[in-house]
């Protein structure tokens, strides 16, 4: 088992005919992901990468029974694409797109309250990977292997690195979830922990956070007393105040959102804190 996504999940790709959409759909298909269609307005009725293309998500859902979508459309249109996916009845929407205006995402979050059955991952995230089964997004599958470690992260490359290190150490992953680097997100750390907590095949958890916001602090609280053997890693310890460190969400404001307070929160909740990705593996291997 895994969380959110498995080999049976019927996936549609929004923006399938674009360069990024095409490349990563091929990667998803290579892993065995059940991509049942794509959406690209104006290209309805054609076939791309062996799957039918539709003009709207609603049509794709009607004709393919899609349950989940991956979004690869440009930032100015991505918020609309998320809402279209939710309104079409999808239960999982993974938005890879980076650079969506924050006000757009605030509106999307309010919109999604009307669709409680819809889970959004991202935006500005690498997506979800369930090793050996399926992925939606851009996480490279070659470093992953099936196993008991749930991985949840605000970062992309740092996640790939961690997954590779886990695999090298013989620690496979149940699911890898990149929640994204934006300040206004779909699933939070806490939401994903909730899912891992209920997944019988996940026994360990690697949480990769960074500066900005207080989602890590809330996650720490949620992990207090959890059955999951967990480790946390926070990047951005040396980031100066008021500077956006790449991710739109990675910013320390005043003395809020610092790596120090986040690390302290985890320690206070009984969750060990790693200083490097190698240490993540060491700590999990010991626990």
């Amino acid at each position: 088992m895994a969380i959110l996504l498995n080999a049976e999940t019927r996936v549609v790709i929004q923006g399938i005919t674009g360069r990024e959409g095409t490349f990563h759909t091929q990667q998803m298909q290579a892993l065995g992901t059940r991509v049942v269609g794509g959406v690209s307005p104006g290209k309805g009725g054609t076939t791309h990468l062996g799957v039918p293309v539709f003009d709207t998500v609603a049509q794709a859902v009607r004709d393919t029974g899609a349950q989940a979508s991956g979004i690869f459309v440009p930032a100015p249109f991505a918020a609309d694409a998320i809402m279209e996916a939710a309104a079409a009845g999808l239960s999982l929407v993974v938005c890879i797109t980076e650079g969506i205006p924050i006000q757009d995402m605030i509106r999307v979050k309010a919109f999604l309250r009307e669709y409680p059955g819809c889970r959004l991952v991202g935006p500005n995230c690498p997506g979800i990977l369930t090793p050996g089964q399926a992925k939606i997004g851009i996480i490279p599958q070659r470093f992953a292997s099936p196993g008991p470690v749930g991985v949840v992260s605000r970062s992309g490359t740092l996640t790939y690195e961690t997954v590779a290190a886990l695999t090298a150490a013989g620690l496979g992953q149940s699911s890898v979830v990149g929640i994204g680097g934006d300040p206004v997100l779909g699933l939070s750390f806490t939401d994903v922990i909730e899912l891992f907590e209920r997944d019988p095949e996940t026994s360990h958890l690697a949480l990769i956070g960074e500066i900005g916001g207080s989602d890590e602090e809330q996650a720490a609280e949620r992990l207090r007393g959890s059955r999951l053997r967990s480790v946390a890693f926070i990047s951005g310890r040396t980031a100066p105040e008021g500077k956006r460190m790449g991710h739109a969400g990675a910013i320390v404001s005043g003395n809020r959102g610092t790596a120090r307070t986040k690390e302290e929160a985890f320690r206070a909740a009984g969750v060990p804190v790693a200083q490097t990705t190698d240490q993540i593996v060491e700590i999990l291997a010991r626990s």
Partner: protein
């Protein structure tokens, strides 16, 4: 984009917010002329940071002579690393009371928050710590915007009911800065109640969302060039790089924001100090690396460079070739340590070694090496 005070006030005034008469001055003479026209003025340094008052960047001038003097003192001064390019001369206000009004993004709630407080004129963070109950808050539905009854309740909650008729429309106008200009922060502090009982914006802060810049090309055209930012950041922006200047001497390049931040952290743990944050993204293409290296080498303080790349979909040997090419085309002679992992990492490291670049198997090892080489 952080607007300067006078820019923020121009934008807010266009939305209906009352502002005092004022004029921009780029020279002491212009400041004198402004005072001649406006009467007693506050001569205010225009910098995109707070705390200019304490730094001596605001002076009252009763006469054109005083204004000229104030202008000559303030223009060109340095405030928290920002050279003051110009001053804003604004008619002095008859202040009866100072209110705080601000709108910003509440990350935890994934929503905008409107904050109103009768304790204006001081830093809102300070008010929030000392007397949190003195700040009334409203989280408007982003589709509806703040409703009239919600704004009324906010004003009464803030114990500012006597100003409700003027405050409700004014808050609506400030909120339009959020919806029409994608403001991440829109703040009027102090919002001045004058001796005559009218409201007017004493100071104004407006920071817009860079992700929404495509909707507001006009703002960038009008105000983009005024602030004299860090020269390396300006150059990096021109080259479409995600770059932040820091104050150390080791240039850092990483692929991915998290990995890059983690690399800075390791450099510090190894006893060094990074000169910058530079995220070249997932692909690590040769021309992007070359651009990044070029900007980093512009900084004379840089004594060595650490590159930390985890090859995901991109193959390590290709990344290595790109790195060598970039270094050679720039004629770089400073120490260069590269940590290369992921796909085809062995082949990649071999290529680096052949070209005299120190490879590191882990970020931590690489960080220690560059610190050692630049000591």
């Amino acid at each position: 984009m952080k607007l300067l005070e006078y820019q923020a006030k121009e934008v807010l005034a266009s939305l209906g917010v009352p502002i005092p008469p004022g004029r921009v001055a780029r020279t002491p003479e212009e400041a004198a002329a402004a005072c001649a026209d406006l009467g007693p003025v506050a001569v205010k340094a225009q910098v995109p940071v707070g705390g200019r008052g304490k730094a001596g960047g605001v002076k009252l001038a009763r006469t054109p002579d005083e204004a000229e003097h104030a202008g000559s003192e303030i223009i060109g001064m340095d405030i928290k690393g920002h050279r003051v390019p110009l001053v804003y001369c604004e008619a002095a206000l008859n202040i009866a009371r100072e209110i705080y009004l601000g709108i910003t993004v509440d990350r935890d709630r994934r929503a905008n928050v409107v904050m109103l407080s009768a304790r204006g004129g001081i830093d809102i963070e300070q008010v929030a710590e000392e007397t949190p109950e003195a700040i009334a808050r409203l989280y408007p539905d982003p589709w509806r915007g703040p409703l009239a009854f919600e704004l009324n309740a906010l004003v009464w909650d803030a114990q500012l009911g006597e100003h409700v008729r003027a405050l409700v429309p004014l808050i609506g106008q400030l909120y339009r800065a959020v919806t029409e200009y994608d403001a991440m922060t829109a703040e009027i502090n102090p919002l001045v109640v004058t001796g005559e009982g009218t409201l007017v914006a004493g100071d104004a802060k407006l920071e817009t969302d860079d992700n929404a810049a495509f909707r507001h090309r006009d703002l960038e055209l009008r105000y983009g060039g005024v602030v004299e930012g860090d020269p390396f950041e300006v150059e990096a922006k021109r080259r479409n790089l995600t770059y932040v200047s820091l104050d150390g001497d080791i240039g850092v390049i990483g692929n991915g924001a998290g990995l890059c931040m983690g690399t800075l952290d390791m450099v510090e743990r190894a006893g060094g100090r990074a000169a910058n944050f530079c995220d070249i993204g997932g692909g690590a293409r040769a021309e992007v690396v070359e651009n990044a290296l070029a900007v980093i080498l512009m900084n004379p303080k840089v004594r060595g460079v650490l590159i930390n790349v985890f090859g995901g979909i991109t193959r390590g040997d290709e990344v290595a070739k790109g790195l060598v090419k970039a270094r050679d085309s720039l004629g770089m002679e400073l120490p260069l340590v590269v940590r290369l992992s992921g796909t085809n990492e062995e082949e990649g490291r071999e290529i680096l070694k052949q070209h005299g670049i120190t490879p590191g198997a882990s970020g931590w090892e690489a960080a220690q090496k560059i610190v050692e080489l630049t000591r």
